[in-house]
């Protein structure tokens, strides 16, 4: 374990300052339009002091906590993928030329610092690194890799999980173990807000060395941190039994449960938009009026839309049940075949933002209860 520091809220402010001085665009949690969103922050005063977000299936409310906590919320309504893999990015643009067409130079990748990344969200970034990285022989698309390399990550461990959280089941939290430059744990100690700060990289150590006023934590503070994190791990809102899950889902492609989900699912695609690991996208084409300049824009897409699987005049996944099955089976089963890990990190957003409160943990459990692998209907599933 690297050296550990402790500070009050002023130290947090100095850290934000130091990141900005190093040329990072610092993004952190802010309260806006009655939701907790990630956007640019200038200082500690932009953080959601005293706010929390109540998350239940299909329900989200901001409430005042009645304390001074900066990180007393669960998780941002939309994930960090909006910055690393934006909803719309110009892939390339070009102008007609005698040799066909010439491509225009692309803008420089932005240099972000993400402040307040939850452990499940750090894990989600690593999951997407495997999708966009070289592991499966698929090189980067657009600017994500370049942006990702420049990004400084300040993780904030979770001491108060939300109602839809299940990071313990997915082994991604509530403590971040890798993938960050600095990690912070917020504890209330003797009536004061204290921030235990650790470095996770050389860049993290370098910046912490520069910040004035950081102290060495007392044994009592370290003990308080440990007990808070242990308590968080024991207080997950939900659980997901991952034992044998890939085989279970692949073997139940014909389970009638999918039809029952189809009766509730609106195919609105909310779950895929808020999911920090959903990576499906499409490409839009634009042509200038004179026909000489073309732009290709990559946009988020969703396997829940009818158009997603459209080919030769008809959709390949016509039923909503088939689309939900594709989504959950990819997250919790075929992702393992593709990338050697599960595609879900347990952040709970898909449950919160589902307008009808469909719960991924409950649906997986329902399939487990109605496992049809040993019946005639189960023969010849996806497995």
């Amino acid at each position: 374990m690297s050296e550990m520091y402790v500070s009050g809220q002023s130290g947090i402010g100095r850290l934000i300052q130091a990141l900005a001085e190093r040329g990072h665009r610092v993004i952190g949690p802010v309260v806006r339009n009655e939701a907790l969103v990630y956007d640019e922050i200038k200082g500690v005063e932009d953080l959601p002091k005293g706010w929390t977000d109540l998350q239940e299936p299909g329900r989200y409310r901001l409430e005042q906590r009645g304390d001074e906590k900066l990180f007393g919320y669960v998780v941002g309504s939309a994930s960090w993928k909006q910055f690393l893999n934006p909803p719309e990015t110009v892939l390339w643009s070009g102008t007609l030329s005698p040799e066909g067409f010439r491509t225009d130079p692309l803008p420089e990748p932005p240099k972000y610092a993400f402040f307040g990344v939850r452990p499940c969200e750090v894990a989600a970034m690593q999951v997407l690194d495997n999708v966009y990285g070289s592991d499966n022989g698929t090189p980067s698309m657009g600017m994500r890799t370049a942006t990702r390399e420049l990004t400084f990550i300040v993780a904030v461990n979770c001491v108060e999980p939300g109602g839809n959280c299940f990071c313990v089941s997915m082994d991604t939290g509530p403590t971040a173990n890798s993938g960050f430059d600095i990690s912070i744990t917020e504890i209330a100690h003797n009536g004061n807000m204290r921030y235990l700060i650790e470095s996770g990289s050389e860049a993290g150590t370098e910046i912490l060395d520069e910040i004035v006023g950081l102290e060495e934590p007392t044994d009592a503070e370290i003990a308080a941190q440990e007990s808070s994190l242990a308590e968080a791990a024991a207080n997950m809102g939900r659980t997901l039994d991952v034992e044998g899950l890939p085989e279970l889902l692949k073997g139940n492609a014909r389970n009638p449960r999918w039809d029952s989900i189809a009766d509730r699912c609106l195919a609105c695609a909310n779950c895929t938009m808020v999911c920090p690991t959903c990576f499906c996208n499409t490409i839009d084409d634009n042509l200038s009026l004179d026909g000489k300049h073309a732009t290709r824009t990559r946009k988020w897409d969703s396997c829940f839309t009818l158009g997603f699987s459209y080919m030769h005049g008809r959709p390949m996944r016509e039923g909503v049940g088939a689309r939900y099955r594709q989504w959950i089976t990819h997250k919790l089963a075929t992702w393992v075949d593709q990338f050697d890990e599960l595609g879900c990190v347990g952040c709970g957003r898909c449950i919160t933002w589902c307008p009808v409160g469909i719960d991924i943990t409950q649906e997986a459990a329902a399939i487990r209860r109605a496992d049809l692998r040993d019946t005639p209907i189960g023969i010849g599933g996806l497995a």
Binding site: W92, D301, H312
Partner: protein, 283 residues
């Protein structure tokens, strides 16, 4: 943060302009573009595809239909089905360019099939991705035992590459049979589904590699016939899949088929890898 691969700014998503040499109308809705690689050569293996881009209109996955040994040009056989394919059909030879990315995907198992009978079965425009395999077999004729091409299409007016099929039909080192679903009175050939041709040709099922391309239902029925009627092992039957891919490099998610990304794990698959997925609706 994070140790990653080298930053890729201008990446594999940017197509390279290829000059259009010729446009040949094949059938009423199908044409072949012959393209000129800008640096003189284009390397690919039979069965691979490219992403073909019409400037400002869009990009579509199209399999390569020319011989892999002919490196100075590239042919792509395209059916007009949507905005991009219609736009590609309006290019002017010698003047216009189309964008190309690739080649992508897995090839037909030409190496593994050496010393074996080749049973090449195509349906409709599915003959296009098979043509490079047929060319390869004929250019390396001694590498293979019997070479059989069975082709089924809707009507006598829908026979793709008909001149070539007839020419192969006249050779004695390759067997070529054609059938149509529905015929008029001018047709003297076979009528019926392509699987009905299998019983009319000689091949050794225990030493045959089958390569099948056509609509999914045709590939399923053909593979089942070869397994049940001829005891062929599923690992010796290859099919090629199609989806509306946007990237071709495994990151857009559109071509997921079970645990496969058709663009990087296929599009050519041994039947053992995808056969179980064919009879599940909406995979």
């Amino acid at each position: 943060m994070a140790t990653l691969i080298e930053p890729v700014v201008i990446d594999q998503m940017t197509p390279i302009p290829f000059k259009v040499r010729t446009v040949r109308e094949e059938l009423s809705h199908t044409f072949t573009l012959e393209l000129e690689p800008p640096d003189g050569e284009f390397h690919f293996e039979p069965g691979q595809f490219t992403m073909v881009y019409a400037f400002g209109i869009g990009e579509v996955p199209i399999s390569i239909s020319s011989s892999a040994s002919e490196k100075s040009s590239l042919q792509q056989t395209i059916r007009r089905t949507g905005a991009v394919t219609h736009a590609l059909g309006t290019v002017i030879p010698g003047r216009h360019h189309v964008g190309i990315r690739g080649p992508y995907g897995t090839p037909w198992p030409m190496k593994q099939a050496r010393g074996r009978d080749l049973l090449i079965i195509g349906g409709g425009i599915g003959l296009a991705p098979l043509r490079p395999a047929i060319y390869h077999a004929l250019e390396n004729r001694d590498d293979y035992e019997r070479v059989v091409v069975l082709y089924g299409t809707r009507t006598p007016d829908d026979i793709l590459f008909e001149t070539e099929l007839r020419r192969w039909g006249d050779r004695d080192d390759i067997t070529t049979l054609i059938t149509v679903d529905a015929a008029d009175r001018g047709w003297y050939g076979a009528v019926g589904v392509v699987t009905r041709l299998i019983g009319r040709v000689g091949f050794d099922p225990s030493n045959t590699t089958a390569m099948v391309c056509g609509p999914e239902i045709m590939m399923t029925v053909t593979a089942e016939r070869l397994m049940e009627g001829y005891a062929m092992a599923p690992e010796n039957i290859y099919v090629t899949m199609e989806r509306n891919m946007k990237c071709g490099i495994g990151v857009c998610g559109h071509c997921q088929f079970g645990e496969k990304f058709i663009c990087v794990d296929g599009a050519v698959f041994p039947y053992t890898e995808v056969g179980h997925l064919f009879d599940i609706k909406g995979v």
